[in-house]
């Protein structure tokens, strides 16, 4: 059984082109049925995310599979083959299997180690399975991809540290406060970062979340979206004393939170730690407050520094993951080979079992004077001779270290011993 992949990704094609080939805007049934209509494809799936569009297909001929998969992509999206060919990459068999394992393990992602891709591969597989029966080889391949992705995630630190500024800030907060469920948070400003951070904080069940903004309506909107309380910006100072964590992201060209304000909070007897995150440029929190006891301030550069270090760590971990994947590809093929070889050995033995039975019947009918014991001895001798004769071809079939792949060996043996032919046909030409 051959397997191929053909597709485009963030590494080979610009977003305008990825959009053109995007499958997610089409009904699953429409494109999956088109794929399965291709003559060479016995099983397949379509993986379509914002960073990649890939078609995986399994069948008997890799050349036919590649042609059909490419034709499917071009025809379904109605794109000109000459215009698009240089964006495509295609891989076959071992390389295709390795590619699927790398994609599922998030080694081929734009942000290495991002967790969504595995879910997307699973979804693509379940969609395909709901449409058409999947053959055992392809089933085995995809299940293996899931288990490899899991192994990579547990045995390497590829997804351990956050690579987004907002999540890094929250991870730092957890290193200060532990569980965030007793934390009171003050969000100052608006924007995407504030929204991402608010969402994560609410998910972690913070005790209270306040939104302060120059435009009160914005505070109200955010408060409604994330179940918090809106406050006016001038009220911020009086709420500062109650806050454990303060997230600031505004476009104000001056320090909104000065050292005096924080010292005023401390002078009111606040002794528990306070964590300030200032992602504004120019900065909105006086950097000197970090010198104060139990006050921690991280600005955008501090957080980016951590993110860069985490990305570097993920890249280092990705190298370990590549070794795991190489080993798993080899193991996958060993498993497949065993699957292909075992039935062949059984076929071979069955075929000569039939020969033995027929020979015994012939002897019995020709030499009617033979006793049961003599017949038994004869049967044992013929059976032993057959076993000895078959021993070498079986060893050849199992033979590790043989330069031919086991699939090639199996094919050779199938032809030599004419395993696709019934014994009766052979008999005609025999004694």
């Amino acid at each position: 059984m051959d397997v191929v992949v053909i597709g485009i990704s963030h590494q080979t094609a610009p977003v305008e082109f990825r959009e053109k080939l995007d499958f997610s805007k089409h009904a699953k049934e429409s494109y999956l049925s088109k794929l399965m209509e291709q003559q060479s494809v016995s099983s397949g799936l379509v993986l379509s995310t914002c960073n990649r569009v890939e078609v995986y297909a399994a069948g008997q001929s890799e050349t036919a599979l590649l042609n059909d998969a490419e034709k499917f992509l071009q025809q379904f999206h109605n794109v000109n083959p000459t215009e698009v060919r240089h964006f495509f990459y295609s891989k076959t068999n071992r390389e295709a299997v390795k590619h699927l394992f790398r994609v599922a393990s998030s080694l081929d992602s734009l942000v290495i180690g991002e967790p969504q891709i595995l879910g997307q591969v699973k979804e693509a597989y379940f969609d395909a399975r709901s449409m058409t029966p999947i053959d055992p080889f392809f089933e085995r391949l995809v299940q293996k991809a899931f288990s490899v992705a899991k192994r990579v995630r547990t045995e390497t630190k590829i997804a351990e540290q956050s690579v987004s500024v907002s999540h890094t800030a929250i991870e730092l907060a957890e290193k200060i406060f532990g569980e965030l469920s007793h934390c009171r948070v003050l969000m100052v400003g608006a924007g995407e970062m504030v929204e991402i951070a608010s969402r994560s904080l609410v998910q972690r069940g913070v005790k209270r979340i306040l939104f302060a903004n120059r435009t009160y309506e914005h505070s109200v909107e955010l408060a409604q979206s994330y179940g918090g309380l809106p406050i006016l910006l001038p009220q911020m100072d009086e709420y500062l004393v109650e806050a454990d964590m303060v997230f600031v992201s505004t476009s104000a060209p001056f320090y909104l939170i000065t050292r005096e304000k924080v010292e005023a909070v401390l002078s009111k007897g606040k002794q528990s730690p306070m964590f300030f995150i200032d992602i504004s440029v120019p900065r909105n929190v006086d950097p000197s407050i970090h010198e104060l006891e139990e006050i921690y301030l991280y600005n955008i550069d501090d957080l980016k520094g951590i993110v860069d270090a985490n990305l570097q760590m993920r890249k280092e971990e990705a190298e370990k993951a590549e070794t795991i994947i190489e080993a798993e590809v080899a193991r996958f093929y060993q498993g497949v080979e065993k699957l292909e070889v075992a039935p062949l050995i059984r076929n071979l033995q069955d075929k000569y079992e039939v020969v033995l039975r027929q020979e015994m019947e012939r002897i019995q009918s020709r030499f009617s004077g033979l006793t049961a014991q003599e017949l038994l001895v004869l049967e044992k001798s013929i059976s032993s001779a057959i076993r000895k004769v078959l021993n070498d071809p079986i060893l050849f079939l199992k033979g590790e270290g043989n330069p031919r792949s086991s699939l090639e060996r199996a094919e050779l043996l199938r032809q030599i011993f004419r395993l696709d032919h019934k014994v009766k046909e052979e008999e005609d030409g025999s004694v």
Binding site: Q161, K175, G178, Q271, H290
Partner: protein
């Protein structure tokens, strides 16, 4: 002295003091780790150590809980110790340095709980007090050993 050792309260006295000692040791260790983790956060150079160590809040909670359990054990240990000392030296037990050291250590830890719960002390200054308390305790222990020998 023989009377003290034979008294059934002696093993109890020894047991609670040992538990108390372990608790204060653990509180000091948690305080030390807190200061290391705090240093990591302040320096903004977040290495593998930072990832391995627990949060400041967890360390603070561990230290304070150990301190409370340790103080309860020390209270029981000091009380039984005073009673046993009274049996052996009815008049001049107050002059025994071991007893005086134990008493001072106990008072120090009571004071610690006071500053935590009345004045709300936390962080570096509070943990420095724990270290001093632990030093007192080690001294008391050494004095006890010396007296015994």
């Amino acid at each position: 002295m023989t009377g003290t050792l034979e008294n059934f309260l002696f093993p109890f006295h020894l047991g609670v003091l040992l538990i108390g000692f372990a608790c204060f040791g653990f509180a000091s260790l948690a305080a030390l780790v807190y200061l290391i983790q705090k240093h990591e956060l302040k320096s903004k150079h977040l290495g593998k150590l930072f990832l391995l160590l627990p949060s400041l809040e967890t360390l603070d909670r561990l230290a304070v809980r150990s301190l409370i359990i340790g103080t309860v054990c020390l209270t029981a240990g000091v009380a039984t110790g005073l009673y046993l000392a009274h049996l052996v030296w009815p008049r001049d037990w107050t002059k025994d340095p071991k007893v005086l050291f134990s008493f001072a250590t106990w008072l120090w830890f009571l004071l610690l709980l006071g500053v935590r719960y009345k004045a709300g002390w936390r962080g570096r200054k509070f943990f420095v007090l724990i270290f001093i308390g632990f030093l007192f305790l080690v001294l008391t222990f050494l004095v006890s050993l010396w007296r015994w020998m």
